[in-house]
Amino acid sequence: MYADVKKNTHSTQGWVGRSLERHEDAALLMGQGRYVDDFPIAPNTLHAAVVRASHAHALITAIDTTRALAVPGVRHVITGEQIRAISDPFLTVLKQPIDQWALAVERVRYVGEAVAVVLADDRYIAEDGAALVDILYEPLPVVVDPVAAVRSDAPLLHPAAGSNQLSVREFVYGEPDAAFARAERTISVDIEYPRSSYTPMECFAVVAEYRPGDKSFDVLANFQGPFSAHPVMAKALRVPGSRLRLRIPPDSGGSFGIKLSVFPYIVLMGLAARISGRPVKWIEDRLEHLQAANSGPNRITRLDAAVEPDGRVTALRFDNLEDYGAYLRAPMPGPLYRMHGATTGAYDIRHLAMVNRVVVTNKMPAALVRGFGGPQLYLALERLMQRIAVELGLDPLEVIRRNLISADAFPYRTPAGALYDSGDYQKAIEIATGDGRLTDLLRRRDEARAAGKLYGIGYAAVVEPGMSNMGYLSTILPEEIRQQQGPKNGAVSMVRVNVDAVGGVSMTADVTVQGQGHATALSQIVADQLGLHPRDISVNLEIDTQKDAWSIAAGSYSCRFSPGTAVAAHLAGKQVRDKVARIAAGLFKTTEDDVGFGGGRVFSIAQPAKSMPFGRAAGTAHWSPVLVPDTDQPGISETGIWAPQELAPPTGGDEINTSLTYGFVFDMCGIEIDPLTMQVKVDRYVSMHDAGKLINPLLAEGQIRGAFVQGLATALYEEIVYDDKTGALQTGTFAEYLVPTACEVPQIEIIHMETPSPFTPLGAKGLAEGNCMSTPVCIANAVADALSLRDVRLPITPNRLNAVLATNEGPAPTLTSNVVDAAAMEKEFAEATIAGSGTLTVATEAGNIWDTLLNPQTLKNIIPGCHTVTALRPDHFQAEVSLGVGPVRGRFIADVYLSDLVPQRQAKLSGELRGPLGKAEGKGRIILSLTPDGTRIDYAYGVDVGGKVASVGGRMIRRAADMIIGQFFERLVALSGDGDATPTKKTRSGLMAWLVGLFGGQK
C-alpha cells in the first residue's frame, strides 16, 4: 500500500514507513510522564488562584482585597492596575485600539476573564482568598450574537475601535461576477459553525520565576507554540526575548491547539513572580479551562455557487462573519485566513469572491483549535455540494466528482494562490468507494428505509493543509500596509542531532510534545540516515528557548511536523551521516561515496572487509580531531534547517500559498436516527486519506482516529453555550460540555493511499487535522439526507432533531382563567432566561399583603434563608440571605429596588443577588386585586443567572428557582393571610421572583 521510497531520499534501512510502536509509551503507561505539575518547585514558591469575572460585560468600579489579604497564608492579591503599570498590552495583527493585558483593566468583556490573582502558600488557601476578593461591577449591555454585534446599535466591547467589526476584507479572484451572470443557476447555503473547543486532559500549567539580577523571567509552561507568540510575551513583559527563558517540559497531556493560549498566563504569572519576589505556580483547573482557556471561533457563512445544470460549479462567493469572542489574541484571526489559498477545496473552481469579517462579542476569546479554520470552511463548502445535488436532482457523489481537480493538474495553483503539491482525488474516491463499500452503504440505506427507518448517507471531500506559511495572516492587511511592514512568509524548521564520543546519538527538535509520538517518528528518520536502530536514538523534545534552536514557526500545530520538522531531522541526520562518511573515508582510505551505513556499522561498500562500529567512526570526531578532514569541525553536532521556497509572501493580488503540503481526505458514512431518542447513530464510516508518504502508519492512524472523535464531537456533542442575553456561560463543567467517551465513538474504517509530495524530501504531508474538517460535515450531510433537511445546525442534538421531527404537541390542558392575565404579564419578562408567572388567592385584605411585602421586618421572614433586611431607602432594600437547594447553600447579598408602586395595587421589583456561588438579576411585577375570596395576587418575573451556578448548575437552576419562589409565596401567605392560599397555576413567583430566582439561581 505504501509507495516506493522517493528518489531523493537517502533512506537506507527503511525505518521510515514502518508502524513502529511508540518509544514514549513505556514511561507514560507506567505513570512516569513528566508534566509541569510533576516538576519539583522551589520551597518558597507561591500558588496562584485566579479571580474571574462573573459578568459578561461590566466596568470594574472597585476591587477590595482586604478580606482576602486577611486570610492566613494569603500573601498577595494582584489586580489589573498593577499589571498595567509594569507590562504592555499584547501585540495583535490588527492595529486597532483593542488592548488586552494579562488581567482585565477597567472593564471585563467575558465571563471568566481574569480580574485578579491571589498568591498564597498553597492552592487551597489561594482559593479561599479568591472567594473573598470583593469586586464591584457596573454592568454594561451584553452582545453574544455575532450578527447582533455588527449592528450599529450594538454595545461596543472596545469603544475606541468604534465598532465590534474589527476587520472587513474583500477578495476577488478570477471573474466571479461574470461567472454568476453566466451561470444557469445560483445555489446557496447559510451555515452557522458552532463554538466549540477540544479539551486536553491536562489543563494549562505555569511555574514562573523572576530573576532581578538580570531582570529576566524563567518560566516552565506547557506552551505548544507557535513560538511567534514568544516575542508577544516578551514585549508584554517589557524584556528582550533573550530575557524570557521559556522551558517546555517533556510531556504534555494533549493540546489540540489550545495550549497556545497559555501564553497570557505565562505573562501573568511572570508578572506575579516579579511583584511578589517569589516563584509562582499556577495549575489551571477544569472550571477555569472551560470558561476561559479558548475555543474555536464560531462562523456564519453565506455561500453562493454559480452552477451549471450538470452540477459543475463555476464560481463561489463567500460572506464570512467570524466571531472571535472578547479579544483578538495573536495569531488571531488565523482561522479566517489559514485556509485562504485552499478556499475552493478539492474543486477546480476558477472564480472566487470572498468577504471576511472579524467581529468581537462577549465570549471567551477564540484561538487555536485543531482544524483551525478548516472545519468552518468545509461545513459550508461540502454542505453546498450536497445542496447542489439535491436541488439539481443529482447524486451528491457525482457532483463532487464532476468538480474535482483532475489528477494531471498537479502541482495545481488555486485561484486564491495555494499551490497544491500532489494528489489524485479521483483515484482516492475510487478506492474508498470500491471493494463493495459504497454498494454496501447504499444497500444499508435502502433496507433501512424500506423498514421505515431514518437513514442517510453523507460524503465529504476535503483538502488538508500541512505546515502553514507564516505569512498567511498578513493577507488580512491590504497590500500597501504589507509593503510598509516588510514581508512575512515561510516557515523554518530546526532539528539538532548530536553524536557523543562513543557514538551515542541524541537529538532535539522544534516541536512541543502533546502525545503525537514525534520522538518515535524522528528516531526512525535519523536511524535511516545513520544505519542505526531507532531505539539507539535518544530524542529529547523539551524546549529551552535560551539553549535550543528555534524560530517563530516552532511548536506543534497546523500539521507542520511531517512537512517541516521531519524534513529538518532528515537533513540533520544527513549532515551527520556525510560528516561521519568523510571521517570514515579517511580511515578506510576510500572516498566519501564509498562509505555505507548499516546494522550499527560503517563500512566501505567496495571493500566490505573495511568496517567499524558507527560509534568508533563517529567518536573519532571527539577523540582524535586531527583525523577529521580539514573541511569539517571537530565534534558532531549538526543542525538541520528547512525553509521551503514555496512559502512565498502574499502577492499584490492577495494570492497566498497558505501551506506547503495539501493532503486529501474523502469520507463517507451512513447514519440512522432513533425515532424514540432522536439520537444519531453512525452505522458505517469510511475515511480515505492521502497524506503522501507516511512516516509511521501507526502514528498516522492514531492521529486520524483522534481527529475523527473530535469531528464527531463537533457534529453531535460539543458546544460552548452562552446565554444570549446575559452572556452567562452555560457549559461550565463536563456535565454540560459533552465530550464523547469511548461509549459514543463508533469504529471507523481507515484507508490510505500515498501520493508523495514533490516539495518535501520525505514526500510526507500533514494529516492530523483532516477528520476535524471532514467528519462534522460528512455527518451533517448524512443527517440532511436522512431527513431531507436544508439546514442542519451543529451539534446535531436529540433536542434539535426532536424540534424538527416531532409533530404538533397539541394544547396544554387549560387552566382557570384569570381576571388579570398573569401569563400576559409574563411577556414583560420574556427575554429573561427564566421567566414565569402565577396567580394565587389569599383570604386577607390587600393592605395586609402590601404591608408585609414592604416592611423589612416581615420581608425578612418571607425571604427564604434571610438573615437581615435593611431599608437603605424606602425603595431600596438590602438583604443578606443563605439560599440553596439541598446541601448546596451559599450566602448572598441581595439588593432590591421597588418601582411603579401603586399602594395596595401593584409593585415592580428589580434587583440583584451576588455571592461566591454566583449572581442573579431579576425583575418582577406583582398585581393585587380584590375578589370575593380575599386578595388575588398575580405575578410575573424574569430571572437571569450568572457566575458559577449558571455555568455548573444548568440542569438544576430552573427547578431550584421554582422551589425557592414557591417557598417565598408559602411564607407570604402564611404571614399575611389566614392560610389557605389557592394557587391557580403551577408556576409561582413574583416580585420576589427576582430575589428568588437569584436565590434559585445560586444553586
Binding site: E127, A131, L738, N802, P813, P887, K948, G954, K986
Partner: protein, 275 residues
C-alpha cells in the same frame, strides 16, 4: 477546584456516627462513595464543617432479605448490589436499572444509599425506590424510623432526613417486577444524567409507571394491566403535562414530555409481553 477546609471524621461504629450527627447537625455532611459529594466539595457548592465518612462501617455493609424486603446498608456500593447473586430473582427491576447508573468505575465507589440520599431527580436509584415503593431507614441517637419512598424524597436534592439522622439502609420489596419489569433512560451520552428515565413494573394485575428527570422528584402512576390502549395514551399524556418538564441546555420541556410519551408506552408493552 479545591474544597474549603473541613474536619474529616471517620468513626468506628454507627453509634459514634450518630453522635457526630447529633453534635454537628447541618454542619456535617455524610460521605459514603463521594461520587456526587466530592465534585460538589471541589466546586465549593457545598462547604460543610465536618465530613463524616461512613464508607467503612462494617455494620452498614449488608445486603440481606428481611421480612419481604431486600435491605441494602448505607456502605454498600452500587457495584456490590449489582454483583449480588440474588438480584435478578429478588429485584429484577433494579437489576435492569442499576447498570444505567454512571459508569463501571463510578459504581465501584458510589453507594446505593448515597444516590438515594442525594435525591437527584434524574437518578435511577431514587426512581427505583419510588417505583417499587420501598422504604428509607433513618436512624438517630434517639431511635429509628422508616419512611415510605414518597415521604422520603421531598424535592430536588431534598429529603425528609433530619439533621441528626443517618440513612442507614434502604429497603426494596422482594420480587416486585417478576411478572415484568423494564427500564430505559435517554441521556446525551452513556452514563450522563438522564434527560428522562422511565421504569415500568407489572405486579398483581397492575402496572406501575415511574418517570424521572422531568419533575423535581420521581413520579409514579398505577394502572390496571388491562387498561385500554386509548386510556393508556390518555393517562400518559396527562402525566406528561402534569410533570411539565423544564428547559435546560440539553433538552426542552417539550422534548422531555415527548420522551415521556414515547418511553412509557414502549416500556408498558415490553412489560406486558413478558408474561
Amino acid at each position: 477546584m479545591k474544597p474549603a477546609a473541613f474536619t474529616y471524621m471517620r468513626p468506628d461504629n454507627v453509634d459514634e456516627a450518630l453522635q457526630i450527627l447529633t453534635e454537628y447537625g447541618s454542619e456535617a455532611r455524610v460521605l459514603a462513595g463521594g461520587q456526587s459529594l466530592m465534585a460538589m466539595l471541589n466546586l465549593r457548592l457545598v462547604e460543610p464543617g465536618v465530613l463524616l465518612d461512613i464508607s467503612r462501617l462494617p455494620a452498614l455493609r449488608h445486603i440481606r432479605l428481611d421480612n419481604g424486603f431486600i435491605e441494602v446498608g448505607a456502605a454498600v456500593t452500587q457495584a456490590e448490589l449489582l454483583a449480588w447473586p440474588d438480584l435478578e430473582r429478588e429485584a429484577p427491576f433494579i437489576a435492569q436499572a442499576l447498570p444505567w447508573v454512571g459508569h463501571f468505575q463510578t459504581r465501584n465507589r458510589g453507594t446505593v444509599c448515597g444516590s438515594i440520599s442525594h435525591a437527584d431527580p434524574s437518578s435511577e436509584l431514587p426512581l427505583s425506590l419510588a417505583l417499587l415503593q420501598g422504604e428509607a431507614v433513618l436512624r438517630s441517637s434517639k431511635g429509628e424510623r422508616r419512611l415510605a419512598a414518597r415521604d422520603y424524597q421531598t424535592g430536588m436534592l431534598q429529603t425528609a432526613r433530619r439533621e441528626d439522622e443517618l440513612l442507614v439502609a434502604v429497603r426494596f420489596p422482594v420480587g416486585l417486577g417478576r411478572a415484568g419489569a423494564s427500564f430505559q433512560e435517554v441521556s446525551r451520552r452513556h452514563g450522563d444524567f438522564a434527560i428522562v428515565s422511565a421504569g415500568v413494573i407489572r405486579h398483581a394485575g397492575r402496572i406501575r409507571i415511574g418517570i424521572g428527570g422531568v419533575a423535581d422528584r420521581p413520579s409514579c402512576i398505577e394502572l390496571d394491566e388491562n387498561v385500554s390502549a386509548a386510556n393508556l395514551t390518555e393517562r400518559i399524556e396527562q402525566l406528561a403535562w402534569e410533570l411539565g418538564g423544564y428547559d435546560d441546555i440539553h433538552a426542552s420541556a417539550r422534548f422531555r414530555r415527548d420522551l415521556v410519551r414515547r418511553l412509557a408506552p414502549k416500556l408498558v408493552s415490553e412489560v406486558l409481553s413478558c408474561a
